[in-house]
Symmetry: C2
């Protein structure tokens, strides 16, 4: 998606340790006009699919998923990272995720009421690196007996293994920008 | 907002301990059509204000803020609850919040780049109870030298102190539904 790649080149900041900061437009401050263009792009890419639900994970996936959902006329469900006092523990799908960004393990939880065997799920998230959060979401969809119809990622870090792992499992993974290399010296190169 | 109150009566679940679960349409599964009606309502209530930015807090505020932002044509900024490896610690506004739901203290952080003295801020969040998260967001706006033009809350728990504290400070607080009492026996009563 050229608009997105231009924006990453313009406003993305490469930091040591394979970090790409896009918090001026995607995951701290959010450019809603850009998200609407992203929603149109996903609708084009998944035009022939009968999607019934969009699944994402807190926190930075939620805004993207909500804007994208407007183009599919379906509800959003977001997986939670911490067990709140407001959730019934025995009515949850849970999956253990190992976070690259936060350098710790955590459980994600989704209420069994909101993903069912009848659902065709589009999974949305901002980043795909090692793919651990995404594998947790796929695990939740599988536990529900639902179908993962597609996966929409905004930025895939192509030099890490997540994309290959997910594609090798046969999923329809649509990453809008795949970064094949980045460094503070050479900048960002897209696939 | 009658549509919202009817939805709370229809799908909200009252639990012991002053808990109102609205996770079927607001903060786990999200009804995007309802959020768009909420966006129109806030636009009507803040029609004469020159809002330049919407500020919320992760996680469940983000989806609401993003849909609402479409009616004001402004970016969203969401305060983060945990310090990520991807944030520069010396470039942040921070404020300490005491959470009712999670029964612990945490710092919220906002990059100094995304709220500035020129901003007229609309703060959006799903719930207002004791008001601690909201006081943290107001503290961030004050640290930035920006103006809090308004506060939009979806559900205010009127039997707790937050609403009175915020109104006594002179803020334009617009709660779309104020719950004055609730119990598993008598159900939900609105103000």
């Amino acid at each position: 998606m050229e608009l997105l790649k231009r924006r990453i080149l313009q406003d993305g900041i490469v930091k040591d340790g394979n970090i790409l900061k896009v918090d001026s437009f995607l995951n701290h401050q959010i450019d809603i006009d850009l998200l609407n263009e992203i929603g149109k792009e996903y609708k084009r890419r998944f035009a022939n699919e009968n999607i019934t639900k969009i699944l994402t994970i807190e926190a930075s996936g939620i805004g993207i998923a909500c804007i994208v959902a407007q183009y599919f006329n379906v509800p959003v469900v977001f997986a939670k990272k911490a067990k709140s006092a407001n959730i019934d523990g025995n009515e949850l799908y849970t999956s253990l995720v190992n976070s690259f960004t936060y350098k710790k393990e955590y459980n994600i939880t989704v209420s069994k009421k909101y993903i069912t065997a009848d659902d065709n799920v589009l999974i949305i998230d901002d980043f795909l690196a090692q793919g651990n959060a995404l594998l947790g979401l796929l695990d939740v969809v599988n536990q529900a007996g639902a179908t993962t119809t597609g996966i929409g990622i905004i930025i895939e870090k192509g030099m890490q293994d997540g994309g290959n792992i997910i594609r090798s499992k046969g999923y329809n993974l649509q990453s809008l920008a795949v970064v094949d290399s980045m460094s503070t010296e050479t900048g960002i190169l897209f696939r």
